[in-house]
């Protein structure tokens, strides 16, 4: 059966019947689950749909985030049936992508700071942290900056600061990191592409 996602939602909504949903492979079970499913379907139908790409392996599966128009929160994420690679399917990790949203209680929400010799994190604000980080970066860089190497060649580099980047951020973010590191003269630059 050739059916688009929107068509599927319209069809199941219009029929309003558990039989139709069951025939499409959804096990509705008890009446409570049925009601919850219909409620979710209605939320999905009225939601803003935003496409994204999975953040685990490199296959690049497409997903659709359903965003509640009232709260602005993502409440459901599922495979994008229009996507030519995954055609709506996902692996266990991708299918659980919702658990990376702010619904996950372990998400970091505040700037945290650990002072020397301290045994705990403390909350800070962005301005304080940025000012302190910049001070440390500048002092470390100025102190350890190498203009010329042992052979007397001009090298303009900072050997005392390392930068480990990430394969789990977007291209534009990678490029900014790459350029920022070079402007500061860093050479110990690496990330998971090697690991």
């Amino acid at each position: 059966m050739e059916i688009t996602r929107r068509g599927f939602l319209t069809l199941s909504g219009a029929l309003g019947s558990g039989v139709a949903l069951s025939s499409l492979g959804v096990n509705l079970g008890p009446a409570k689950a049925y009601a919850a499913e219909i409620n979710k379907m209605q939320r999905v139908m009225t939601a803003k749909q935003v496409t994204t790409v999975c953040c685990y392996c490199s296959v690049g599966c497409g997903l659709i985030c359903s965003v509640d128009k009232n709260t602005g929160k993502v409440f459901n994420i599922e495979g994008d049936p229009e996507h030519p690679i995954n055609e709506g399917s996902l692996c266990a990790k991708g299918a659980g992508l919702f658990d990376l949203t702010e619904a996950n209680k372990y998400r970091l929400r505040k700037v945290l700071y650990r002072a020397p010799m301290s045994d705990r994190w403390e909350e800070k604000n962005w301005d304080w942290a940025l000012e302190r980080i910049a001070r440390l970066v500048k002092d470390t860089r100025d102190k350890g900056f190498v203009s010329k190497n042992a052979k007397g060649e001009l090298v303009n580099r900072c050997e005392t600061i390392g930068h480990l980047g990430s394969s789990n951020v977007d291209n534009e973010e990678c490029w900014l990191m790459s350029v920022a590191c070079r402007s500061m003269g860093l050479i110990y630059i690496d990330h998971q592409a090697r690991v």
């Binding site: 392996c57 690679i85 996950n104 929400r109 930068h163 534009e172």
Partner: protein, 810 residues
């Protein structure tokens, strides 16, 4: 990937080696299974362990970890000895006929030019003889004793069935079966492909394993064709993009080379990095290197740099000649106390880097650490880790909350080079912001200090173009994407002499293709390979969602953007004969009509190579235009050679007097212990992941659904070894190497079988690498307590896949 995920369906024989695709790339595996369903493709799995991939393949062939080159070298020997190579392709599209320098030799495991003191090669003799015009000399009969073909034949004649079987532990019957089945694709109308993953890269010989397969693919005519290629199933969502943008010590965005100290002027650097070819049929596309590099410098510094100040070249940091600055070098220096500050963005090296003891000790030497992530991890709170007294750790640590993937707009590149645009679905919680915005804000603050106080070499910091915020002061991702694409810095007219057209571009307009980048400072381009991700009118091609598939081969040319220039299969001109007619008309990727190419975006517009005037060879990024069966690119030799892992069960390499890769760096701190062929650590060990966790588990361990499915560390042991050791399934045991140990659950299976190596029984065991002490509390700690600090000689990718351990009851 040379090809892309959907293209796997076009294959006739799929060799999965160095990958457990069914569990780690389940959606990619769907296309592998489709090849079986639609073409009756044969699926072969070669791997130390029987996995769910093996279960879905036609058969599984177990081999000892770290012996892939021996296995594939035997395949080359088989292909040449049994005349299975694709003659038309090998003659015309590879350097098989080139004559190698008379000074080149190979003796007892070492190639000419080796210096044992520096563990490095001089590559002076790894070159070709040239004629009066400077063009490599060729013998099209392939009989000259010094032609590449004959040298290769001689080199791999040592890889006999007996020898390969004894090294790898694969039976001669299994070897013959795989070799015969795979080499049957060396004909016009069959395609064979190879899928690998970390199972190949995580070795001291990783790059050369991949190169051995590339040689196999060239010999069989499987490069550049539908259903062919050498395909890395990479492990991170944007690892292709992060590599393309080179957050790596040795390269600048677009794989431009990081300058070294002896290249003290722009002219010297350009001279060294720009290859030359005297052969008019070689496109030698890298002759355009200066355009890509100068445009990159202009993207960094814009109007602050020009011809007079060398486009700011002197401001770039320079590496020492021959030096490397990888993750392992970083932690080695940090352990010595030389590194004072560290940024760790979206990464957890305290779990993921080799030799965990050394890494965690090294972190204690830092003055400061800046973490950016969506969850806490073992690296950011190393100061309260097992056995660490926080009161003795001086490090100031900042942990900055980042937006998750669906909370920000931007592009990600998959392994098939598809650069896909994604949109922001929701705001990040509380104070979390995108990593891009954090990078901008930190450097803004640093720039403000330098503007106020001055300091060491302030020019590159203060002159950097750094205006990537919108009016609200937030990260403007489209501004960055367009800067990466590149734009004209002045009104420009581009003349296409071949087409007889002139096109005008205004200052500020986007560059529609990298062919229009210039070396005179008139264009800025942040990453040349991404030029064309927008068109000149500013349309974002990465966001395209067109589903048309005109070739029927699954190329989907209007879905997202594939670099370079939306080419879906690279080296695609090699899918046609020298007259531009497809070798396999049933899978017509490309065809020359007599005037133009139709199908995929060709590797350059030139006619096929039979046209001696205007035609070009197909491998346009190679200096000589041809597939390199022999070449100077690698650190350890022009032909791949089998060496044992740094730590293995043998005290002698059965193939030569050279036990380990002669070109790898040996780290020698007090924590870098090695126990080769040591009775105390008798079992080969490997590491891997599982479907439910991702990498160090730093994201997935915080998710209840996934954690419930895979809750804790285990070691998989074959039932024969378990019986020998009296270990029961489910029992908690200790796995130890000379560097450290972990305690975990024993999982006794029939999936690991002992190997017969050099007449002796060798057992292998394996552990996942997804766990760390922080969360869950009882899930076990890092598997990398076991692994050595050692890496591939070219890439410094650590050897996580082959080392020696013992297993003991607690």
């Amino acid at each position: 990937m040379t090809n892309h995920y959907i293209d796997l369906k076009n294959s006739d024989v799929i060799l999965i080696m160095g990958s457990n695709a069914a569990e780690h790339h389940p959606i990619a595996f769907k296309w592998i299974l489709r090849a079986k369903e639609q073409n009756g493709a044969r699926l072969i799995h070669v791997d130390p362990r029987y996995t769910r991939t093996s279960a879905r393949c036609d058969y599984h062939v177990p081999l000892r970890s770290g012996t892939d080159i021996a296995f594939l070298g035997g395949m080359i020997h088989y292909i040449l000895g049994n005349d299975k190579w694709f003659k038309d392709y090998v003659l015309n599209y590879t350097n098989a006929s080139f004559i190698v320098s008379p000074d080149f030799y190979f003796k007892d495991g070492l190639f000419s030019g080796y210096d044992a003191k520096t563990r490095k090669y001089s590559k002076d003799t790894w070159v070709f003889e040239k004629d009066g015009k400077g063009i490599p000399m060729r013998d099209m009969t392939l009989t000259h004793p010094r032609c590449v073909f004959q040298l290769m034949k001689k080199h791999y004649s040592r890889y006999t069935m007996e020898k390969v079987s004894s090294i790898t532990g694969v039976s001669k019957e299994d070897l013959t079966k795989v070799y015969a089945e795979y080499s049957a694709t060396g004909v016009k109308d069959k395609a064979g492909t190879e899928c690998y993953a970390l199972g190949w890269t995580h070795h001291t010989t990783g790059s050369q394993i991949i190169r051995t397969m590339s040689i196999v693919q060239l010999l069989l005519g499987n490069m550049g064709i539908c259903g062919g290629g050498v395909n890395a199933l990479r492990g991170e969502p944007n690892v292709q993009g992060s590599t393309d943008h080179c957050i790596l010590y040795g390269n600048l965005p677009g794989y431009l080379k990081m300058p070294v100290a002896s290249q003290d002027t722009l002219a010297k650097y350009i001279e060294k990095c720009t290859p030359k070819s005297s052969d008019p049929q070689s496109a030698n596309y890298y002759q355009n290197y200066p355009k890509f590099f100068v445009s990159f410098l202009k993207s960094m510094f814009h109007d602050k740099v020009n011809q007079e100040n060398g486009f700011g070249y002197s401001w770039l940091p320079k590496m020492d000649d021959g030096a490397a600055y990888s993750l392992m070098h970083l932690f080695d220096e940090m352990y010595k106390g030389k590194i004072k500050g560290l940024f760790a963005v979206g990464t957890d090296p305290s779990v993921s880097s080799p030799n965990t003891t050394k890494v965690r000790k090294a972190l204690e030497n830092l003055d400061w650490l800046v973490g950016e992530n969506i969850f806490d991890n073992e690296t950011y709170c190393f100061w309260k880790g097992p056995g660490v007294d926080p009161a003795k750790v001086k490090t100031e640590v900042f942990l900055l909350p980042a937006s998750a993937s669906m909370e920000k707009e931007g592009s990600q590149s998959n392994s098939g080079r598809w650069v896909q645009w994604k949109y922001k679905a929701a705001e990040a919680p509380d104070d979390a912001i995108p990593v891009g915005e954090i990078t901008i804000k930190i450097l803004d603050a640093v720039r403000a200090l330098y503007a106020k106080e001055g300091g060491a070499c302030p020019e590159p910091i203060l002159n950097l173009k750094w205006d990537y915020k919108d009016l609200k002061g937030r990260f403007d991702v489209l501004k960055v994407a367009k800067q990466i694409n590149g734009h004209f810095l002045r009104d420009t007219v581009i003349e296409d002499k071949a087409k007889g057209t002139k096109t005008e571009f205004k200052k500020g307009q986007l560059v529609p293709t990298f062919g229009m980048l210039a070396d005179d400072g008139s264009t800025a381009g942040g990453n040349w390979i991404m030029a064309g991700s927008f068109d000149a009118a500013g349309t974002n091609k990465m966001a395209k969602r067109g589903k048309d598939d005109p070739t029927g081969l699954g190329l989907y040319p209007n879905w997202s953007y594939a670099w370079p220039v939306n080419r879906r299969i690279i080296y695609n001109r090699a899918s046609c004969d020298i007259n531009g007619k497809p070798y396999n008309p049933k899978r017509k990727l490309l065809e020359w009509t007599g005037e133009t190419w139709v199908g995929d975006v060709p590797d350059g517009p030139w006619p096929p190579q039979a046209d001696k005037q205007k035609g070009k060879y197909p491998f346009i990024m190679k200096q000589d235009g041809l597939g390199a069966l022999f070449g100077p690119g690698m650190a350890e030799g022009p032909f791949p050679e089998h060496y044992e892992p740094l730590e293995g069960p043998l005290s002698k390499n059965p193939l030569s007097g050279q036990l380990i890769n002669p070109a790898i760096k040996i780290f020698n701190s007090d924590l870098d212990k090695v126990a080769n062929a040591d009775a105390k650590f008798p079992y080969v060990c490997t590491t891997y992941s599982c479907t439910e966790h991702w990498c160090s588990g730093a994201l997935t361990r915080w998710q209840a659904w996934l954690l419930e499915a895979m809750p804790e560390l285990y070691v998989e042991i074959g039932d024969q070894l378990a019986k020998e050791k009296g270990i029961q399934n489910g029992e908690r045991i200790r796995v130890s190497s000379v560097r450290g140990n972990v305690e975990c659950v024993a999982m006794v299976t029939k999936r690991f079988r002992p190997f017969l190596i050099e007449g002796k029984t060798v057992h292998q065991v394996g552990l996942p690498f997804n766990y760390g002490w922080l969360h869950p509390k009882d899930g076990g700690d890092s598997t990398n307590f076991l692994t050595p600090t050692v890496g591939d000689a070219n890439t410094f990718c650590p050897e996580y896949k082959a080392f020696m351990v013992n297993v003991t009851k607690i």
